[in-house]
């Protein structure tokens, strides 16, 4: 193996092992910045020794041992500052034994939990969102500062500073290294899921000309969601997010047209949908539904069934028993994924799910999507009734899909003059040339 090969192999080892290494060291030294430093020191040792000695059979264990030794040294040096020389002489032997045993016990505790603790830390709400994203991608995603900078269209020093400040804040606020329980847990978990979802969406907005690190964010987010699902398999929203990202990823290849224009889901070539990811998404959704212990699977998910089953639970269970926004969005994505063609889409099912989503996490965009689903399930007037209430919604003011959908519904109801006005309004709002052409031709069709 050439030196360059070894270097690249060590980079790969780092990407695989660094999160667990940093998490384990954070447990020892209780400071994420120091832990990362020690982890890097271990990496330097690897870079020095592995080219000659070869890559060890268990590189993770090697790095952990190297990091742990450096952590012990560091802790002893810190302790030494508080003690006299005489004391140190007496204690040195005892300390050596205690340290090793104590640390062994600490490390032998489930390492997976340490990674979970680390995710909760890097996504702590005390940090601004962009800091959470950068810190999580760095410590858990294994991205270099440069990769994060390129993915977010900024400079490496900017990201580096963001990360330094984040670590300092965590240290100053003495954020504990733990998995939150009780009342805190739901909020803290929501913060973690939000970070992962934001990373995915950032990647989703990438266009053809962008640096490869941008669309790669979808893969990075999906990987983090899978890791989290493995660490917290009893959390329905965690499984919901994993399912949602698998299903959205399944459509990545179908969503961009030949001229780089976005293709709406209903217009996509489903032969380009990744069946493996769909299968994984449906499986994750099933596991998420299973946590409610109601015997439901994606095959028979209907909101009415949910309601009937929920009455069997006592009130406390019912309060906790409603599916959250990620699981609901995943269920909606699953409806699309299961339809072999757009015509076979189960619209009543989707409409019911959007109604549940509107109750769980209301937003104008959810209402708009609900209107579309209702119109497909119960006819254009049903959709229009919902859309008409959104026309003055400030959040949707510049959003071309609102007049576009409204125009479509008006057209189907034979109200052609009004439809024409809406299509023209939509055409003026969109910046995409091909969409503009499409909307203008729809407007012209109203004249006939």
């Amino acid at each position: 193996m050439s030196d360059a090969d070894v270097r690249r192999a060590i980079d790969a080892v780092w990407r695989i092992e660094s999160a667990r290494l940093i998490a384990g060291l954070t447990r020892i030294v209780r400071d994420v910045g120091l832990a990362e430093q020690l982890a890097h020191d271990a990496l330097v040792a690897a870079l020095e020794q592995w080219p000659a000695a070869g890559i060890p059979a268990n590189p993770g264990a090697w790095l952990m041992a190297a990091g742990r030794n450096r952590a012990i040294d560091h802790l002893r040096r810190a302790r030494r500052l508080e003690r006299s020389h005489a004391e140190i002489g007496r204690e040195r032997e005892a300390a050596a034994r205690d340290d090793a045993a104590e640390l062994d016990a600490a490390i032998d505790n489930d390492m997976g939990d340490d990674v979970l603790r680390l995710i909760f830390m890097t996504c702590h709400p005390v940090l601004p969102t962009e800091a959470r994203v950068a810190l999580t991608l760095r410590l858990l995603g294994g991205l270099t500062t440069d990769e994060i900078a390129r993915a977010y269209l900024t400079t490496e020093p900017a990201i580096a500073q963001r990360i330094v400040r984040a670590k300092r804040t965590l240290s100053e606020k003495q954020i504990p290294f733990e998995v939150p329980r009780g009342r805190d847990r739901a909020d803290r978990l929501a913060s973690v899921l939000e970070v992962i979802y934001l990373v995915f969406n950032e990647g989703y907005t990438a266009t053809a000309g962008d640096d490869w690190t941008r669309p790669a964010l979808c893969e990075d987010a999906l990987r983090l969601a899978r890791v989290l699902a493995g660490l917290a398999p009893d959390e329905p929203e965690v499984l919901g997010l994993a399912a949602l990202l698998e299903l959205q990823s399944s459509r990545l290849r179908a969503r961009i047209g030949p001229s780089g224009e976005p293709i709406l889901l209903l217009d996509q070539n489903r032969a380009l949908w990744d069946l493996l990811l769909i299968r994984r998404g449906l499986a994750a959704l099933d596991r998420g539904l299973a946590t409610f212990d109601l015997g439901l699977t994606t095959l028979d998910l209907r909101l009415t069934t949910f309601d009937v089953s929920l009455t069997k639970l006592d009130r406390a269970q019912r309060a906790a028993g409603r599916p959250g926004p990620y699981l609901l969005q995943a269920a909606i994505a699953a409806c699309h994924a299961r339809a072999r063609t757009a015509a076979e889409t189960d619209w009543p099912q989707i409409a019911a799910l959007y109604a549940a989503l509107a109750a769980a996490a209301p937003s104008p965009i959810v209402e708009l999507n609900r209107a579309v689903a209702e119109s497909m399930a119960a006819g254009p007037q049903a959709g229009l009734d919902i859309i008409d209430r959104l026309v003055h919604e400030p959040a949707l003011a510049g959003y071309h899909l609102l007049p576009s959908v409204r125009g479509d519904l008006l057209f189907k109801l034979g109200r052609h003059a009004e439809a024409r006005a809406e299509f023209l309004r939509a055409a003026a709002l969109t910046r995409n040339a091909r969409e503009q052409t499409l909307l203008q031709s729809r407007a012209r069709a109203c004249d006939g």
Partner: protein, 139 residues
């Protein structure tokens, strides 16, 4: 990037022999590691070639030939699909793959990258896929 780890057959796998407990444990642990890292996509063992068949093409005709087939070393006994960010990462993961015949015994795995369509923009691959696409055309 996606890679397929192809586990080659052995006389034991062709004989339908159940793997020893140590091997099953090692395989389970390894795949758990892959899953925990978010890198595992799919995987399965394949039944011995005695349960399978081949379709042979000659001229315009085709014949079905039942297994078993002789060239054990060239037969496939299982596969694992992984998703990673680089070829080096795939290399590192596959380096850790447990010996499918059990420690100390001769065995082989082969690793191949999956073709991916270009994620963005047009190209001959996308166009051809569109031509043979099964998806519904927009109204």
């Amino acid at each position: 990037m996606r890679f397929m780890i192809i586990v080659k057959a052995t006389p034991d796998s062709e004989a339908g022999k159940m793997p020893e407990p140590e091997l099953l444990t090692a395989m389970a642990s390894y795949h758990e590691e892959l899953a925990r890292a978010g890198a595992l996509l799919d995987g399965s063992g394949l039944k011995p070639s005695s349960t399978g068949w081949r379709v042979r093409y000659a001229g315009d005709g085709r014949t079905v030939v039942d297994g078993p087939f002789a060239e054990t070393k060239e037969l496939i006994a299982g596969y694992t699909l992984i998703q990673v960010k680089s070829r080096e990462e795939a290399l590192e993961w596959t380096r850790r793959f447990p010996n499918p015949a059990g420690e100390g015994r001769p065995a082989e795995i082969e690793v191949r990258q999956l073709f991916e369509l270009e994620d963005f923009g047009n190209g001959p691959e996308i166009d051809r896929f569109r031509e043979i696409g099964l998806g519904d055309k927009p109204a």
